[in-house]
Symmetry: C2
Subunit: 175 residues, 2 copies
DNA sequence: TCAGATGGGTTTGTTTTTCCAACTCATCTC
DNA sequence: GAGATGAGTTGGAAAAACAAACCCATCTGA
């Protein structure tokens, strides 16, 4: 798989084995691609605030607890990525508010699943910092289901079909 | 809300306005708490590999493209957090494999929603790097639903009920 | 009227992380 | 025994995060 390097080793400058550092072509993957956009520190918290309607710079600083300069970098990136837009809510003095685009709102499922996990595993479902109510009248407990059959998705029911070389093709993982 | 600082300003050493940097008590939130554990660079990709069954150090290095030292730090942290376990798959020579704990597997919904977003918004649902098949026989397209009513969750149907001060209580965000 | 506060950032200097390449060490393979 | 393999660790340079201060236009209250 990394065979091409074998041929050149004999004549390489380095006299000892040079083992490759992190390969430059990692697995092509939508998860990685998404995280490249929103996986930096604070980015998803920005999205959380913005989805809650708290899109002003000082609200973000306060509610997230991020340094102002970092926040300002993140905001630029998220706007560039088409996840947020910048709205002027006042001329004279010019003041702005960040809001989610439709693509940004499409990231809410990520926030919900993160919240679910934290509620379950970090807060034991008691004394939750925030409760989200669904319009059906109940507390929202998000469940990921399969669009085709509607069933909740369990790890054992999944098989990965990688489209690129270098993948291990597997079904259930647990022994 | 930050009123306590008012009184002391007159006598503070700094002659000019000192505006607080990132407040030290950001919003208490399960999303932030979860990200504190798995939000560092590469952590969720480690989980991806491990859920796919590729839990050996060199596989992780190759498939993720992370520096070995960073990976080794991440692995320690994820094991400490109870998200991974380290299994010896060979004595003499001692060799290890990382596997997800049940809590780790519970993070799969996060991976799925991240993948969905990337598939939709970054790859236009064509030429996807990986297809996951559900046991029902169809390609898995994860949909987040409300456990109580079973309906897909839409942003407009949510209302946040923060349990801590400093929150803005809102329903639908869009104007 | 003007001292100070507010909103939305940028600048500057320091501390942490990341990154990369190389190194280790025990074992297995040719 | 020469070299490869797995699973890391080490050391030094580069990049990011951090904190505090600064900026500038506007508004506010005494």
């Amino acid at each position: 798989m990394e065979k091409q390097t074998h041929l050149s080793w004999k004549t390489e400058p380095s006299p000892r084995l040079v083992r490759m550092a992190a390969t430059k072509d990692p697995r092509p993957c939508s998860i990685a691609d998404t995280l490249a956009l929103v996986g930096e520190k604070y980015s998803l918290l920005v999205l959380r605030e913005v989805c809650l309607g708290n899109g002003r710079f000082d609200q973000l600083v306060r509610n997230i607890g991020a340094p102002r300069d970092v926040l300002s970098t993140r905001l630029r990136r998220l706007v560039d990525a088409g996840i947020l837009t910048k709205h002027a809510y006042s001329e004279r003095p010019r003041r702005f508010e960040y809001r989610p685009t439709p693509a940004g709102l499409d990231l809410e499922p990520v926030l919900m699943t993160l919240k679910e996990w934290g509620d379950r595993h970090l807060h034991g479902n008691t004394g939750l910092p925030m409760i989200v109510e669904h319009d059906c009248g109940h507390e929202l407990v998000p469940v990921v289901t399969c669009r085709a059959c509607g069933d909740p998705v369990r790890h054992e029911d999944l098989t990965a079909h990688p489209q690129a070389p270098g993948w291990t093709l597997r079904g259930p993982v647990h022994p």
